[in-house]
Symmetry: C2
Subunit: 270 residues, 2 copies
């Protein structure tokens, strides 16, 4: 009664004898843009890992790693994030898959990019560890990407210009980075950051995504500060409050806001 193929095999029989063959397969990795606000909400931080091997030896790279046979890409990203930072249950979303054949000179590596947003920046393995990680100040404007850590004296910057591309008969502008500093990010990780920021800013329009950078309970001045950091521009207080009004509920407690110096109502995401 079971369906058989042209060789008379049932599905179970087919799978039993199936040989995946020896075609060249790419390695698949995940790479992540992990952002968190600075403690005083005066800017954003991004997590980078220092490379100890060729290629891009001594360069800083986005955290990431290989996708294991028994896990999804999402699970791989969540695992790597937890290994690096201890963070779990933070916002984590797929951004784009990068697949230029020569993006890694060692071998063919296809990388699925993720972005993660955390309300805190936990301490990471630093110093002269084999795996050195650090949080960098992250500044992203219309024409500049600046990533620096003044403690360890590293500054990486790219100028951003807009180039027009065509897809079918639809044209659109796209950011093109050009290195301005002596040090650079490893691989195509600038592009991963740029794609992530574009997607992030677009999604702020129709999601509650900035809430994932706020504490469980937050004041509105602080939530507004997070929105402003992610969007890269100031907002009007009154308009902002109208915008988020139906997504929040008062907790009926007061606390000093992080960015201000006064008591402010606490709220929670509905």
């Amino acid at each position: 009664m079971e369906i058989t193929d042209r060789n008379g095999l049932t599905e179970a029989q087919f799978l039993e004898q199936y040989d995946p063959g020896d075609y060249p397969r790419p390695s698949v990795t995940v790479d992540m843009m992990v952002l968190s606000p600075k403690k005083d909400y005066s800017g954003l931080k991004i997590l980078l890992i220092k490379r100890r091997e060729h290629p891009y030896i001594n360069c800083w790279a986005l955290p990431g790693g290989f996708v294991r046979p028994e896990e999804t890409c999402y699970e791989a990203a969540a695992r790597e994030l937890k290994e690096e930072t201890g963070l779990k249950n933070v916002f984590l979303e797929q951004v784009y898959t990068f697949s230029k054949p020569d993006r890694d000179p060692r071998m063919r590596v296809i990388s699925v990019a993720y972005m993660a947003l955390s309300s805190v920046a936990p301490p990471v393995k630093g110093g002269d560890d084999a795996l050195e990680a650090a949080w960098f100040d992250f500044e992203f404007t219309d024409n500049m990407l600046l990533i620096h850590n003044d403690d360890i004296g590293i500054s990486i910057s790219y100028q951003l210009t807009t180039k027009r591309f065509k897809n079918g008969n639809v044209k659109y502008g796209n950011m093109v980075p050009s290195l301005k500093s002596k040090t650079q990010l490893a691989f195509d990780h600038v592009e991963i950051i740029l794609e992530s920021m574009i997607k992030l800013r677009r999604e702020i329009e129709y999601t509650d995504l900035p809430f994932s950078m706020a504490n469980e309970e937050f004041t509105l001045p602080d939530l507004q500060a997070i929105y402003e950091l992610l969007l890269g521009h100031k907002l009007y207080k009154a308009n902002f409050r109208i915008m988020v009004a139906d997504r929040i509920e008062a907790v009926d407690k007061k606390e000093k806001s992080i960015i201000g110096r006064r008591m402010s109502e606490l709220y929670r995401l509905k």
Copy 2:
């Protein structure tokens, strides 16, 4: 003067001796949702391929194939699309990467999904060919996905319900399909279609994407019809024209519109 690693190797030396090792690697494929309008603009069509092998033998599947070592995923998708349909230079965009370890029972396959939008639906290899392909009528509403081809007597339908998910502390609704027809789509291809349609509809808001389904020169009633097909609801004529006004230029010719029966001004995308 060159930088050496802990073994004293330069980058060139390192790459020379580098052994990618024998870790398990996934196969990477691309799968595509290819949409085009019906000739009379009364609906959408989607391209499907009939499977001749286990698993999902005799099921219909999205077109796709393996990513070759020397090409990007985009190039793989463009190549497969051209092979199936002869189409090139159509709108083609990455949607999402699907990576459940068991999504293909034969082996680990990670699939990068693309969507393609064409103004025409070229004839495809049909009949009793080894590789049977066909265009299906495509209907997508809030609670139903219906894919059918009355010529060959195939109808595939899924009911769509909304389930709430959590990502970090952000909650959002997501469509969950449940099969209603006897026949089903192969693999997780329903999910690829759903993700693609969500992204497609969202991008219509801020791109010229529906123009890629129109002819080079088009009438406004026809362009509006395409917008309505993709969005799944009617638009007001006057509002629609205001909306597209600054993106089009008159060609100063008239032609009968496809959906109407009268002469109408021809336009072109700026």
